[in-house]
Amino acid sequence: MSIYTILQAWDRFWFSEVSPLSVAVYRILLGFLTIAFILLLIPDLFVWFGSHGMCSNQAVADWNNGHAVFLNLFSFFPDNDQFLVVFQCVFFLAAVALTLGFHARVAATICYLCLTSLYHRNPFIFNAGDTYLRVSTFWLIFSASGNALALTGRQKRSNPAGNFNSYKKVSIWPLRLLQIQLATVYWHTFFCKIVGGPWIDGSAVFTASRIEDLQRLPLPFVFEHAWTINLLTWGTLGIEGALFTLIWIKEFRYWVIAFAVIFHLTIEYHMNIPIFEWLMIVSYVLFFEPEHLALAITWLRNKFTNQKVTTPN
């Protein structure tokens, strides 16, 4: 192998061109989940971020050993509940704009700034799903997600007669970053689990099922037999392993995604971790071939509208 071959492979992987459809569908789904994130925060907004809430700016600064230089819009208006309300409204509007594709890049930037500010204001209430949402929104800023299925930016794309296969191609590297981000989640969690202990001896799912504050709906039989618990524990490792390896291989991709969707829906049924499972599920769209997405969207449009347009390959 020569250096030239490596550079060519790098060039092909990061700098080839692709339809913006996958990243546009991802933007819409991520936008819906961001709206859900905002709405779920509203009932206890002042409890978590308010001037008389459960976590002061001082506590967060102490937690960070006094290093308080973080990207945080609340630093400009500390302990100001009026600003908090305005902030939440702007965040909501940005999330709606992101979903609709109204100046998508600006909307993604505002969403990222808001998510990061909330995280730096009170890091103690956010779970892995929130981290994934924040980091994904950051990568989305660089993508041309507004070049398809968007309200603005129509001049940048060509979509004659509603043909979802004919969008002007864009640089692939932001899509690659989003794909790598998703693979990184499973890569890290897989290697943290296989170091030994309950994931290897097959009992981890039993312990997880006994965490009372995480339970949503009961799953009868499954958690009452050692063989089903072993199967689910090792099956989890298998699926997570496939989600950063086999998902890159075309022939296995949709099978891996199908198993992963069942896996996350099972967790969603049994455990109360709002948004996280849905975030992972919608992220699989990043691995879909744009032609397949075009077919699916055309089918949906024909199903729900009177337009009858076929998408040529």
Binding site: H52, M54, A59, I125, Y132, C192, F206, I229, N272
Partner: protein, 204 residues
């Protein structure tokens, strides 16, 4: 690398003001490649911080990485799921010597729909405040005092935070058995409440 596929700088782009089209075409790939390599390396170093050299990289770039909120960790349920069931309780003591018990919305006591927006309480208390974040205990005490200040003549003067927990049985012993009650207790702190802490509380 070939420049054949390079896209021209967009019209009305701020880049047009700074660079000519040819200049941008020449430096576009190296700049983006540097950005990609930097962030992929930082992610790797942060997630797999298992060597002094990697730690040095993290130390050097942590300011940028943390400032941007890009730090991430996906070690959920690893190396094993949490093996305890905790909850946190506060006892509010009033000026006249009476007391009142307070607890937050506990997930296992909420219905299907209520527990969805209240999940943040689980994360805050059960994963963090009940264990390893003493920095928020005084804030919790003040918050509890304010929300339990009902009589102007009888203000809260003391809030005690207590963690209750129980260990989850190992699989060999635990199958088909209920979880043990959360009866192990530990006083996390006792916090005096001042008049200043109660400022701004509205009374009917």
């Amino acid at each position: 690398m070939t420049n054949k596929q390079l896209k021209p700088v967009r019209k009305n782009s701020i880049l047009n003001e700074l660079l000519s089209r040819e200049e941008w075409a020449r430096i576009r790939k190296p700049i983006i490649s540097a950005f990609l390599i930097l962030h992929c390396t930082l992610n790797y170093c942060y997630l797999f911080n298992n060597h002094p050299y990697i730690n040095n990289v993290n130390h050097f770039f942590f300011g940028y990485y943390a400032f941007m909120g890009l730090e991430q960790s996906w070690n959920v349920f690893s190396p094993g799921p949490r093996s305890t069931n905790p909850h946190l309780t506060a006892i509010v003591t009033y000026q006249d010597g009476s007391s009142r018990l307070w607890t937050y919305p506990r997930m296992e006591r909420l219905d299907f729909f209520t527990k969805i927006p209240k999940e943040r309480y689980r994360k805050f208390f059960d994963d963090n405040a009940a264990w390893n974040t003493p920095v928020v205990w005084p804030d919790i005490a003040r918050y509890v005092a304010r929300t339990n200040y009902f009589d102007l003549d009888n203000p809260p003067i003391l809030v005690s935070l207590i963690r209750f927990s129980s260990a989850i049985l190992p699989m060999e012993e635990g199958i088909n058995k209920p979880n043990p009650p959360q009866s192990d207790s530990k006083v996390l702190g006792v916090y005096p409440i001042t008049a200043q802490d109660l400022d701004g509380v509205m009374h009917k």
